[in-house]
């Protein structure tokens, strides 16, 4: 997989709950997409912008759009000036897109039971992952969490993607009240999970990785770090891990991740 840096076009931009869904066509990016990879979008006008770091965005879907070929659907939450700029771009805007970036989720060779755990907008890559797993005959269970209903990504669609869906919200506005960490052990047990995939904030990933280990399942965690370049050039996104050789080292979230084996990350040292 080789990433490209291309000028893309914004085909659609709409607000869904607390998030923005952008549909972008950028030559050569969507074709190489695999669940877990992401793109980096330049913010502002290249060469004149005061905003230098591109914004990494999860790829939620890849869909053909008539006359445009494959389009990327990206999910973003407005958190600052850069993401606000992206959310305010008009349809037809030109965007510099780099991708697909990072290592994707590894897929099991056998049709084993999989549990996919996502929190907030970070659940985006789990939907195309669910499709790939179902193609391989894996029974898929989804566990989705969010602070409230507006931050719950595509809960309706989740019911089409998975055999079983559990929803937890912190305020109890939909599904069970509580945190993913409270629910994950029971979901793993009920699904008889062999592999657990997780995407979300670090405390949640840590809890899921620990629950998976206790359950005897493999875990694959997509670690989100603030990225300065997203392409591996600047070494600005350290993730402390233990290598295959058992030696502790620090790797980059963007090119060595974002997906890591849950039992390889030294979670307690992962400081944000």
């Amino acid at each position: 997989m080789s990433p490209v840096h291309a000028t893309g076009e914004l085909l659609a931009s709409r607000k869904v709950g607390a998030y923005h869904h952008l549909s972008v066509v950028a030559r050569g990016v969507a074709e190489e997409f695999r669940p877990g990879t992401f793109v980096a979008v330049t913010v502002g006008t290249p060469g004149t912008s005061a905003t230098l770091a591109p914004r990494p965005l999860w790829i939620h879907r890849v869909r053909p759009v008539g006359g445009h070929g494959l389009a990327l659907q990206l999910v973003l939450e407005v958190r600052g000036a850069g993401t606000r700029w992206l959310a305010e771009q008009p349809v037809g805007a030109r965007l510099a897109v780099t991708g697909p970036l990072g290592r994707p989720f590894a897929l099991p060779k056998e049709p084993v039971a999989c549990v996919l755990v996502g929190e907030g907008y970070s659940a985006a890559p789990l939907f195309p992952l669910a499709e790939r797993l179902r193609e391989r005959g894996c029974p898929v269970t989804l566990l989705l969490g969010a602070p409230d209903e507006s931050r719950l990504l595509s809960a309706l669609e989740a019911r089409r993607s998975a055999r079983a869906v559990t929803v937890v919200t912190r305020d109890g506005s939909v599904g069970q009240r509580g945190e993913i960490a409270d629910a994950v052990t029971e979901v793993l047990r009920r699904a008889e999970a062999a592999v657990v995939y997780a995407a979300g904030p670090e405390p949640m990933l840590h809890a899921v990785a620990a629950a998976a280990e206790a359950h005897g399942a493999w875990s694959q965690c997509a670690v989100e770090q603030p990225l300065a370049c997203a392409t591996g050039l600047c070494h600005g996104c350290p993730v402390p891990v233990v290598g295959e050789d058992g030696v502790a080292r620090t790797v980059r979230a963007c090119v060595d991740g974002p997906v890591f084996r849950g039992d390889r990350v030294r979670w307690t040292e992962l400081v944000r």
């Binding site: 230098l52 770091a53 591109p54 510099a96 603030p226 070494h235 600005g236 350290p238």
Partner: protein, 311 residues
């Protein structure tokens, strides 16, 4: 100015990747063929492996990035085993950036580094704005620089030219450049990260367009005081127009860093745009690389290029 000519280092063109901004080279190669660049400067290599500092390491600020990475690198042995060979195979002119905690460590580092094949030059990182915070030798005074460069030049084989990357202190940059050349460096890298701080107060460097005018002033000052010393300009260069400003000010070449972090194709674009530019094209690298120069005594500052002969 007759183009990118640095004694002993035949640059293909004036565009050099700045230290710490090209990953291991493999990441950049996806966007810019390494053999089309003037040269590729590695991330700063130290004798022993370093995990680097804690997150956040890089923070955005208007027109700049503030960074305190702590020089993460696999150490000399790891670099020689895993990072240098692919760079050489990809056809890159490899400039190895080095730093150490002490003069003795510098000496040991370059003694072992100098035996490796495929190194075009060594850039001594005398300007790390977060050096002291990360336990590296903090060069603040000319005598610090002299002791480091003297040790490096004593231990490095004669075929490998030494570039000195200076602190971008506008008021003292000429003094630093004079010290570097008197200590035996064939060229100086001027500009680069300004001393700054992360929001949590950690020592850091500020890079990007925000520092470009300061870097240009540094180049102008050094050029005026030491007209025959090759100067490589660095600091916020992202477009061909930026590069031309530095080349007009007398820079022999430019280093590109922060621009790559938001557009990884920036270096390739710069090479292409400058190639079509007569001013920059006049005097691209000679077909035959000039033989290396290793002065046994301080370089004589001489404005006549014919005097720059190998001894």
């Amino acid at each position: 100015m007759s183009g990118p000519q640095i004694p002993g280092l035949a640059l293909r063109n004036p565009v050099i990747i700045a230290a710490g901004c090209g990953g291991t080279g493999r990441e950049l190669a996806a966007y810019s063929p390494l053999d089309a660049l003037g040269a590729f400067t590695t991330r700063t290599i130290t004798l022993n492996p370093r995990p680097g500092g804690p997150a956040p390491r890089v923070v955005e600020t208007p027109s700049g990035l503030v960074h305190s990475t702590g020089c993460p690198n696999p150490g000399l042995e790891g670099f020689l085993a895993t990072e240098l060979p692919p760079l050489v195979q990809a056809g890159a002119r490899v400039v190895v950036s080095v730093a150490a905690a002490s003069v003795q460590e510098y000496a040991e580092l370059v003694r072992r580094l100098g035996r490796a094949p495929g190194i075009a030059a060594v850039e001594v990182n005398l300007s790390a704005p977060d050096a002291a915070a990360h336990g590296l030798f903090d060069v603040r005074e000319p005598f610090h620089m002299t002791s480091v460069l003297t040790a490096v030049l004593r231990e490095l084989p004669a075929g490998i030219p030494v570039l000195a990357k200076l602190r971008p202190d506008v008021l003292r940059v000429v003094e630093a450049a004079r010290t570097a050349v008197e200590s035996g460096a064939v060229a100086v890298v001027v500009g680069g990260p300004q001393p700054a701080a992360l929001p949590d107060g950690r020592a850091a460097g500020l890079s990007g367009p925000a520092v470009r005018p300061l870097a240009l002033r540094c180049v102008t000052e050094v050029r005026a005081a030491l007209p025959s010393l090759p100067v490589i300009g660095a600091g916020g260069i992202g477009t061909a127009a930026d590069a031309r400003d530095f080349l007009r000010a007398g820079a022999t070449a430019v280093q590109v860093g922060t621009a790559l972090l938001h557009d990884p194709t920036a270096a390739a674009r710069l090479v292409a745009e400058l190639a079509s530019d007569d001013a920059a094209l006049a005097g691209t690298a000679p077909a035959e690389p000039s033989p290396p120069v290793r002065p046994s005594r301080p370089v004589q500052i001489n404005t006549d290029p014919s005097q720059e002969q190998p001894r």
